[in-house]
Amino acid sequence: MGSTVKNALLSSMLLLCVGGAARAADPWQDLLKSLEQKGQKETEPGRPQSSPGGGLDLGIVRALTGFSQEEEVAIGRQVAGNILGAAPLVKDAKLQQYVNRVGRWIASQSERPDLDWHFGVIESNDLNAFAAPGGYIFVTEGLYRSLQSESELAGVLAHEVGHVIKKHHLKILQQSRLVDMGGKVLAKRVGENEHIKNLIGSGAEIFARSLDKNAEFEADRVAVILAARAGYDPFGLPTVLQDIGHVAKDDNRVSLLFKTHPHPDDRLAQLGDAIGDRLDGLKGQTLENRFYRIRP
């Protein structure tokens, strides 16, 4: 059994590598999708829980799809708890509630509306935002303060929602999981988890690593569409990228962002090519007046 599983995994990883994020018809995505649907069917009430005839058994299904949602959330909690250890929430309950409403409305337009999404603004002067698996999303106070409207906030949050729904970080972690198939992640909702700590590395290090640049471009494309679906002006994120684009490269506030992301100019150019005239005539709200401003 062990070697069968390994072979299946290895070939699927090869598929992943060859397929890449840039291709529209990604065989890995298709596989994920069909397996996810299969997983949903199995939890329907009244249906026998045994493995479906002719299909893969559930253990293999889970190994191929990566992590179960429970595992994903447990991983996300650990990462989110770590990043909050480095930068706590800005102490402004109204602010935190506000970003949760904007964020949840954006996430509701995605294919994972039922995930338990959480958003927060954290105490840091940097211009950055972070997404942990399971729907934990944080924006730095520095970035928040540079925003001018709710549609810009929506665009930033939507980019992070994009990382979560495309499971960009989970896919990286899955590679570690392949190396250590023996150490099953035991999902536990409360407190720290040693298995997960081993998986994710120290602290919130995962955010100091870069994702594939195509993952960033993909999250940008998802972001403008989620913002458009939510009724916002879809150009909130591009406006923010243009602002960040002319913060000097040697400015400390953007050093991590510029290190881990393609330059905003490249992101804008990619977005421009992807959008073309697709969003012409799509008006939307910018809601400058409702935008919650942190006290100076």
Partner: protein
């Protein structure tokens, strides 16, 4: 009282700066694109820009900038323009924001605010904080709350298909 008044003055300065942040800002055309009389595709073409042309950005509306250039004035897609040039040292909105939040221009920490950077080392050294995480989770909004909030802002959900990657669009269509 005096504090309140000076805070109000600061806020007013900030709002003023924010609303006029674009006016007169320099930009460069990233690629060739048409100048339109109005900010939409079917509007009359009144000129064209080639890559590298410098423009003055007057206004933003949706995905469009109203610009002035040596080749005439009009509306151009914002994604065809790279914003900004030498903004250093000018009293722009960023500077005012920096002051307002107690930051120095370098963006480095001002000790009294307790706000700091979040670099690679900080992330690696981060220690799990369950209490803060619980707090973060306590602010979560339900889908129903989000719907209500959206309705209050007159945000109407609509169907829009995802975008294909540009390379795939060129190669397969």
């Amino acid at each position: 009282m005096n504090v309140a008044r000076s805070m109000a003055a600061l806020l007013a300065t900030f709002l003023l700066a924010a609303s006029s942040a674009l006016a007169g800002e320099a930009g460069t055309a990233l690629k060739a694109d048409a100048l339109k009389a109005e900010p939409f595709r079917d509007a009359k073409t009144v000129g064209s820009l080639t890559a590298g042309d410098t423009v003055e950005i007057l206004k933003k509306q949706g995905g469009w900038f109203q610009v002035k250039s040596a080749k005439g004035s009009g509306w151009v897609r914002m994604l065809s323009i790279r914003r900004g040039e030498a903004r250093k040292g000018s009293g722009d909105a960023e500077g005012v924001l920096g002051l307002a939040s107690g930051r120095a221009g370098t963006g480095r920490v001002v000790a009294t605010t307790g706000i700091r950077g979040l670099g690679e080392e900080d992330l690696k050294a981060a220690k799990y904080n369950e209490l803060e995480l619980k707090k973060a989770e306590s602010f979560g909004a339900t889908q129903a709350e989000a719907r209500k909030f959206a309705a209050e802002g007159k945000l109407v959900a609509r169907k829009v298909e995802y975008l294909a990657a540009p390379d795939a669009a060129k190669g397969e269509r």
